[in-house]
């Protein structure tokens, strides 16, 4: 039996400081053992547990796409003990990785469909993985129209600036960026995600909509997506909960009878409406 608690080592190859306040970094990790890479077959939307030995583990969605071979990327906001320790890590150092975990986005269901992705703040990282995945040369023809709506508090908080620049030039991707408040250099949209989504009003025809972001953003965006015509079955969320084991045993990330770590983190609104949790 495979022991699900044992991490394997990965080396930090690159660290990108994503935000002006330096509180969010993207770590690029490379596999040290070939067999670890072979066993890490993942799809966008899945996550892994990262170990900073002596400090512990925390879960992070893969920000990279499985189409990028040889490495994994994780975007990490400095918030608690483990994330702070990881932020102090440098290129060349070793961290532990356990995964892939969770269900991920239903990539096969999404093939042949139009996809609308709505990301807010830090929650955008797994949508970045999906975007990279669908834009892959071999994958792109298998998906319909791709629309990405991505917002941050201010321009300095937008992640993946190189990607955004590249994506902005493409004709096979509709990219809409927005910020809550602008700075002197920003000439793009200003406004909250729900309002921008309403203005753009992407078509629900033959489409799925994926919403990732802070709870308050999700709360105010879902009525808009419903109004535009997206059914709960075709509205997908990626949820966050405190996790430890990541394999459905430690008992803390459940919503009703479902564990976010193994049954999720991706759920449709239709699935969630049948589960028990406080609306607040």
């Amino acid at each position: 039996m495979k022991n699900p608690y044992i991490p394997f080592p990965m080396r930090i190859d690159n660290v990108v400081i994503e935000t002006d306040d330096r509180d969010i970094k993207t770590f690029s990790l490379s596999f040290i053992h070939k067999e670890d890479e072979a066993s890490f077959a993942y799809i966008p939307g899945q996550f892994a547990e990262l170990s900073d030995f002596n400090k512990g583990e925390a879960p992070f969605g893969m920000a990279s796409s499985p189409t990028q071979k040889g490495s994994l990327e994780f975007t990490i906001a400095k918030a608690g003990v483990v994330t702070t320790a990881l932020h102090n890590r440098e290129v060349g150092e070793i961290v532990g990785v356990r995964g892939p975990l969770g269900n991920g986005f239903p990539v096969d269901t999404l093939r042949g469909k139009n996809i609308v992705m709505i990301g807010g703040g830090f929650g955008f990282s797994t949508l970045r993985a999906l975007t990279t995945f669908v834009l892959d040369e071999a994958n792109r023809p298998t998906f319909g129209d791709i629309t990405v709506i991505y917002g941050a508090r201010n321009p300095g908080q937008l992640l993946y600036k190189d990607d955004l620049e590249q994506w902005g030039k493409r004709h096979d991707l509709n990219l809409y960026l927005t910020v809550d408040s602008r700075d002197d250099e920003w000439s793009g949209r200003v406004g909250l995600i729900p309002q921008i989504t309403k203005e753009i009003a992407p078509s629900a025809e033959n489409a799925y909509i994926l919403v990732c972001g802070p709870p308050v953003m999700i709360k105010f965006t879902l009525p808009v997506t419903r109004e535009i015509g997206f059914l709960p079955e075709r509205t997908l969320l990626s949820l966050e909960m405190r996790m430890k084991c990541g394999v459905g045993m430690c008992g803390r990330c459940n919503i009703g009878s479902k564990y976010v770590c193994t049954d999720g983190p991706v759920f449709s609104c239709a699935q969630l409406s049948g589960l028990l949790f406080d609306e607040s």
Partner: protein
């Protein structure tokens, strides 16, 4: 079903025989309490007890346990997984409620090599409850004072001897070469009588029919606030519960070496679900207490088709503010639907 008998006075020597092949855990008296411990001689065990304060769950799911050790520097990380104990072990004198609790653990720890190895290596010899206590309610949650579910052998007290009910092949193997006599008709009749008397002495317990539906429809009911007002959130109910299996994982480090440890945790603690962002989906005692009840009487039924409570009554006996899970569940089951 095959049955044997053993004289009470022969129990100690039977345990001595078992000790040559097994590590044996049995109830022993310690500071006016009875606890499960690994014994060195059969005479240390006592079968004259009601139930232990702590369930024997720690034998298969230790309160603290090393998952692996590591040696980590900036550019290396070596991991060593502890080897599993090969000597088979046996829990002797476990109560039927506690034996049944491992059937739930079998679901909860499906895929966990630490638990599964121990479980496969452990035999359960249970002893039926001739004198069920006031907090006991096993019969109302699918068990019974003489339930054999989960056990390999079940002992039934009949005067100066025990009737041994052989439940599994592994249990039968324990008795090979024991020379114990087959139970006679009198012993069987007496055992039936003991079982009937014990079952009849038990209180009403919990009304299970329709309870899950009632709980699911009462999730938002303000009654939860009222029901949980006196709860201190101390978590003793979860630590003493034979079916509670939640755990935390922490690194215990000394320089560049350390161990990743798993330790029992409790859904009754605020830190259990507190996220680094500051968000806590179960911010008050109300949500945490409700989680415990829902997990046992709704979610586990949904996930495993089994009630997550074996009716041992420990959470009732040891609760510092006398919160009684039977009353809580009763109150919910009698609620009118929220308009």
């Amino acid at each position: 079903m095959k049955t044997k008998t053993i004289k009470k006075k022969d129990i100690a020597s039977f345990l001595d025989t078992l000790l040559t092949r097994y590590e044996v855990f049995a109830p022993v008296e310690r500071d006016e309490r009875v606890v499960f411990e690994a014994i060195g001689a059969g005479s240390e065990a006592t079968l004259d007890y009601q139930n232990t304060t702590m369930p024997p769950k720690g034998i298969l799911f230790p309160q603290t346990e090393q998952l692996f050790s590591y040696r980590s520097t900036k550019d290396t990380a070596d991991i060593a997984v502890p080897s599993f104990k090969e000597k088979p072990q046996l829990i002797f004198g476990i109560r039927p409620c506690d034996a049944r609790s491992f059937l739930l653990f079998d679901h909860a720890f499906d895929g966990d090599p630490y638990y599964i190895n121990r479980r496969g290596n452990t035999l359960l010899v249970s002893i039926g409850c001739t004198h069920p206590q006031a907090p006991c309610f096993c019969t109302s949650v699918g068990g019974g004072p003489f339930s054999e579910e989960g056990s390999d052998l079940l002992l039934i007290e009949t005067g100066d001897q025990y009737l041994i009910q052989i439940v599994t092949d592994r249990g039968a193997q324990l008795l090979e070469e024991s020379g114990f006599k087959d139970a006679g008709k009198d012993a069987l009749t007496l055992a039936q009588k003991m079982i009937k008397t014990a079952e009849a002495s038990m209180g009403a317990g919990i009304e299970i029919d329709g309870l899950k539906e009632k709980l699911d429809s009462s999730f938002e009911n303000p009654i939860w606030q009222e029901l949980t007002e006196k709860c201190l959130g101390c978590g003793v109910c979860t630590y003493l519960c034979p079916t509670c299996h939640c755990f935390d994982m922490v690194d215990e480090a000394e320089g560049s070496t350390g161990e990743r440890i798993r330790i029992w945790d409790s859904c009754q603690f605020p830190l259990f679900t507190l996220q680094a962002s500051g968000v806590n989906p179960r911010p008050t005692v109300k949500e945490r207490f409700r989680q415990r009840i829902m997990h046992k009487f709704s979610y586990m039924i949904e996930s495993y088709n089994q009630i997550g409570c074996v009716g041992c009554g420990r959470c009732i006996t040891e609760c510092p503010v006398n919160l009684d899970i039977r009353q809580v569940v009763h109150t919910i089951s009698k609620l009118e639907a929220l308009s």
